[in-house]
Assembly symmetry: C2
Homo-oligomer: 131 residues x 2
């Protein structure tokens, strides 16, 4: 948990939530993380999951993807990268595409102070194309 312990008290719940998130390449919802983490901490409540997701986001240890059709998704990979969202099945996948800092430069004008960007591609994912 590195950074955290200087600012927050440690908790098994928080460690477990982050571990689950880091163990997958999917981009799970809060409910999925809850179900998964419960396998090891059966009494873990959903409220605790949300509270810890907030804390972890604040500390920059996860990405909060407010995209989805309904439920938000979370990404344990905080390095800059882009996503692909399937129009058909709704899955969120990582793109193997270099990050483009030059886009921020092009956008810095008209008085905007640009801190970064978010780029999502959408279309049909390989799995759905097969159907």
């Amino acid at each position: 948990m590195e950074v955290i312990e200087r600012i927050r008290k440690r908790s098994r719940q928080r460690e477990e939530i982050l571990a689950v998130l880091r163990s997958t390449k999917e981009h799970p919802t809060a409910a999925i993380l809850h179900a998964e983490a419960r396998k090891r901490i059966p009494r873990l409540s959903l409220g605790t999951v949300y509270r810890n997701l907030d804390v972890l986001e604040e500390l920059g240890l996860l990405l909060h993807i407010r995209n989805g059709n309904s439920q938000d998704r979370f990404d344990g990979d905080v390095s800059p990268h882009y996503h692909f969202v399937c129009d058909s099945c709704g899955a969120v996948m990582d793109m193997r595409l270099p990050y483009r800092p030059d886009l921020d430069e092009a956008a810095t004008r008209d008085g905007f102070q640009v801190r970064g960007h978010r780029l999502d591609f959408h279309g049909t994912c390989p799995a759905c194309l097969k159907k």
Copy 2:
């Protein structure tokens, strides 16, 4: 209402909602549209606003921006363009930046069928910078 009338029955409510959306450069939430359209149609219900936003999205007459901190926002400008989201005040603004179809080409690989992309910049908006 151009296109619509061939597919749907016309309704004053739908026309008013689209008119309000087109009259602004802000990117209003459903609640804002409701409040605004109510000035002319006092009994307009929020349910009707949501139903019509769905219809209008389906017909390609608006963009549904599932971004925001909580409430979704809507954009009456359906031409391809990018947005800036202010980290400080949450406002969504249009960027004067040319659309980049080449990004889609670069992303077409690994079996993805790319239909388009969404690019949001974030940082601090001119108004918030002054404070």
